[in-house]
């Protein structure tokens, strides 16, 4: 008998942690890609402006990434504690894709730390190479992790056997990256987050330009926003059509709640805003609205596509395996643990935001205080 509190708190903890994680990590992914583009442009053009923008953005990235990374650890432990059999199945079937994501995390964090700490302390070309490792690592993470979501939407590569009166779910040896749902989901995650970050960077560059240099050199985030928003629209369409074909329960849940239409409308709006951003004066407004709408698009897709599986944890066509089946039945995990967790996450989020405020508005980072030690 599964303790009902484990089902409730298992869903709550994973939902809250997942929300916090993707809310922060989406910007981390986008910045990891855009920052090296800025540095390369600065290097090729011999223009310090682009390099200084890259440096400012990195100081933000480095702070947000650690907080976002902690949330990933929270997610993993909560999943293991509340949904052990689901995690076992995922790690068994998705051993290599998940390992790829783990490798991506390692490459991204280490190269990010090096990228920050070695600024102006090493040759520009070598520094750019570190930045490219950072971008590659960051892209590997959602690529590998999307295989888990794909597995829950359409359990490709799973072998179901019955023995000793028990049902086992193990790998059937097929490559899980060939799951038809996987690639559109992974690529949508990439381009939606890059589009979102492009708008944020565009807004930042514009506001800085007004203060300092007049009309902005803002073509990098504009081009990036246009390309990535068009591609995210394309892969959203592909992802939804694959869900319609392979995960009909999920599809009908999305369709019946009208979320589907909101998602498509938002995608089109984001594309439109990115095109309007070509005009500098309009981009001052379109960048902010574009950032808000693309954030909304990304979060809405992630939340709705996960919530729509309920009451199932894994969807199999028009039905599925319920969340209760996978919940930890060993004992009732004390309710005080998740409640204390929520209190701490609230307190630490406030502290974190206050630190960010201090770092960027009260004592802005202009370099100098992070380099070599004084001797």
């Amino acid at each position: 008998m599964v303790p009902i509190s484990n089902v409730f708190w298992g869903l709550s903890t994973v939902a809250v942690t997942f929300f916090f994680h993707i809310f922060l990590v989406s910007v981390v992914l986008g910045l990891s890609v855009i920052i090296p583009i800025y540095e390369i442009t600065g290097y090729l053009k011999g223009d310090r402006y682009y390099i200084s923008i890259a440096r400012k953005l990195t100081s933000y990235l480095i702070r947000v990434d650690l907080f976002a990374g902690v949330m990933a650890t929270w997610l993993t432990v909560f999943l293991g504690a509340y949904w052990p059999s689901l995690v076992y199945i995922a790690t068994n079937v998705l051993l290599y894709p998940v390992s790829l994501a783990v490798a991506g995390i390692m490459i991204a964090i280490v190269s990010m730390a090096l990228y920050w700490y070695t600024w102006d302390r090493m040759g520009r070309r070598a520094h750019i190479v570190v930045g490219l490792f950072m971008a590659a690592g960051a892209l590997m993470v959602p690529f590998g992790m999307s295989s888990i979501i794909s597995l829950m939407d359409y359990p490709y590569g799973v072998k179901v056997t019955t023995s000793l009166g028990l049902t086992f779910f193990t790998s059937n040896g097929k490559n899980p990256l060939m799951n038809p749902v996987f690639l559109p989901l992974a690529l949508f995650a990439w381009f939606a987050t890059i589009a979102l970050t492009s708008f944020i960077v565009l807004y930042y560059v514009n506001s800085r330009a007004v203060r300092e240099t007049g009309p902005a050199k803002n073509y990098i985030p504009v081009i990036s926003a246009i390309i990535s928003s068009v591609l995210s629209l394309l892969f959203l369409y592909l992802a939804l059509s694959r869900l319609e074909q392979y995960s009909p329960y999920l599809w009908s849940a999305l369709k019946s709640s009208s979320v589907l239409y909101i998602l498509i409308a938002l995608s089109l709006l984001v594309v439109l805003l990115s095109i309007l951003s070509i005009h500098w004066k309009i981009s001052k407004y379109s960048s902010l609205t574009g950032a808000v709408f693309s954030y909304f698009l990304f979060m809405l897709f992630e939340i709705s596509s996960n919530v729509s599986r309920y009451p199932y944890m894994i969807v199999t066509g028009n039905t599925g395996i319920t969340a209760q089946t996978f919940a930890n039945p060993l004992y009732g995990i004390p309710v005080s643990i998740p409640i204390v967790g929520f209190a701490i996450i609230a307190l630490m989020t406030v502290t974190f935001l206050f630190t960010l405020y201090l770092a960027f508005f009260v004592y802005p980072v202009e370099g100098g205080h992070h380099g070599n030690v004084d001797v």
């Binding site: 650890t73 504690a81 004084d374």
Partner: protein
């Protein structure tokens, strides 16, 4: 003994080359590298705050900005080591779940509470590190307030370490299982605390996993057979083994990091980089911290050793080099029994306790006998290194005591200051050596068990084949992260020195 070690080394190479290694063997290799790389970075988060906060507190108390600057420079190390520590921690955590996926039974049961509390400690630590670094030099009037943030970092990192070590300690001594372990496989194990783990369910898990393997856990129904597993999910946190392990690891990490810091100051003095007076100030404080921790470590080590003797007698025999047929060990005898003549029965006696058909019990004794020479060597490398560290610590007081200064000078024919300068390098080397060999003794000694007396390595490894190629790729990545972390430390702390340095 050297001959036996050589033969064992060749046996391991033969097994690897001939492809006879199981998934568990291959997976273990990557886990060993991963744990050590992680440990190197995490000790800076675990114990180095004590060094940094000591420097800052002295600076505030004396109104001496030199010490505060040292604390600032030291805290910069947190950035790079925390990033590398977090990333390798993620690797170890994923390794636990992805490669040793049978451990999910542990995570979902006895380790759930400590691991979730560790999450909370982790976020406190990471957020407060950011606040500490961002607000450094900003507290003009309330400098103690800044120190308070640093204490928050120390609290977070130590709570985190305690909870992780609680899980590891439960794998060594599964507290709360009463007499179940002795009834299952290992009859020499005493009662392990109050019986709060359902013995029927524990027995079901322990006897089914070796037959089905970790893929048992791919069945949600199998988990449901284990319902009502425990009545006390907090028991792992109150395991007496974790008290000893936590103290022992804390002092080990403090000795290593403070000796590394004192080596840095010594290096600058020897190379004549920067202000020598400034470096001596730092050297005196960091060496003193290392010395105090080395003295305390002797008591923590004794505490840990007593736990080993009490709960893991076969490993105790191996580490102390007690022959299989039994023998005398005067030092242990006097420490444990207050006389020199206690006879320690060896593994032959333990083997005689095993009931007929206890395959895992026999495997345990065989494993202990196989690894005994290696364990004995590793253990005594740690003990002797620790003893030399204490001698170094006594020698340090020659800076303040004329008598000790004279003894050092007459024995070593060098000036006291030279002894302290070069002693810090010796201290760093020996403390790292002691740390590596000590942890190896703990983990190697537990073979073949993941949870001592309950679940073996082979039971928890992922049922997918862990190939040598996969293992090789992960190990390369682990080594790459280690080198990248070292490179980052070099760029921050040493590159400027080579350039000729500046002044503070």
């Amino acid at each position: 003994m050297l001959q036996r070690l050589t033969i064992q080394a060749f046996q391991l190479i033969y097994l690897a080359v001939s492809g006879s290694w199981s998934s568990a063997n291959t997976a273990e290799l990557m886990t060993i590298v991963g744990i050590y790389v992680h440990a190197f970075f995490l000790i800076f988060a675990f114990a180095f705050p004590i060094v940094v906060l000591t420097l800052e507190a002295i600076g505030i108390r004396r109104g001496d900005e030199d010490y505060i600057r040292m604390a600032w420079n030291g805290s910069k190390l947190w950035g790079i080591t925390f990033a590398a520590g977090a990333v390798t921690g993620t690797l170890v955590e994923f390794g636990l779940i992805v490669v040793w996926s049978g451990s999910l039974a542990l995570i979902a049961s006895m380790a759930a509470a400590p691991l979730m509390l560790e999450l909370y400690a982790f976020i406190i630590e990471i957020v407060l590190i950011g606040t500490y670094l961002t607000t450094f030099w900003r507290f003009k009037r309330r400098k103690w307030g800044h120190l308070l943030i640093g204490l928050g970092v120390l609290f977070g990192s130590n709570l985190s370490a305690y909870m992780i070590l609680a899980v590891n300690a439960w794998m060594q001594v599964p507290w709360g299982t009463g007499n179940t372990v002795s009834h299952l496989f290992l009859p020499w194990v005493p009662s392990l605390g109050p019986l709060v783990v359902n013995p029927v369910k524990l027995k079901l898990l322990a006897t089914t996993l070796p037959i089905v393997g970790s893929s048992l856990l791919s069945s949600p129904g199998a988990f449901q057979l284990l319902s009502n597993f425990t009545t006390d999910p907090w028991i792992a946190i109150f395991n007496p083994e974790v008290y000893a392990t936590y103290l022992h690891n804390l002092f080990a990490a403090l000795i290593i990091t403070s000796f590394l810091a004192s080596s840095y100051f010594s290096y600058k003095i020897i190379k004549r980089v920067g202000d020598e007076r400034y470096s001596w100030k730092g050297l005196r404080v960091t060496f003193l911290v290392a010395t105090v921790a080395s003295f305390l470590q002797a008591f923590a080590g004794d505490f840990q050793g007593r736990e080993l003797y009490l709960y893991q007698r076969n490993i105790f025999d191996a580490t102390e080099g007690i022959p299989a047929k039994g023998g005398y060990d005067p030092i242990m005898s006097i420490l444990l029994y207050g006389n020199l003549n206690h006879f320690f029965p060896g593994t032959n006696y333990l083997s005689s306790l095993l009931p007929q058909g206890d395959v895992l019990g026999q495997l345990t004794i065989a494993s202990t006998n196989t690894y005994a020479p290696v364990l004995h060597l590793l253990y005594y490398t740690m003990v002797i290194s620790g003893a030399i560290l204490i001698i170094l610590g006594i020698g340090y007081f020659g800076l303040y005591s004329t008598t000790i200064r004279k003894i050092v000078q007459s024995l070593l024919r060098i000036r006291e200051e030279t002894f302290v300068l070069y002693g810090s390098f010796a201290g760093a080397f020996l403390s790292i050596l002691a740390g590596i060999t000590g942890w190896a003794t703990r983990e190697l000694g537990r073979h073949p068990w993941t949870v001592y007396g309950v679940v073996t390595y082979n039971d928890v490894v992922n049922s997918r084949i862990i190939t040598p190629l996969f293992t090789g790729a992960i190990i390369l990545l682990e080594i790459g992260i280690f080198l990248a972390g070292l490179w980052g430390i070099y760029m921050i702390f040493f590159k400027n020195l080579k350039r000729g340095g500046g002044s503070h």
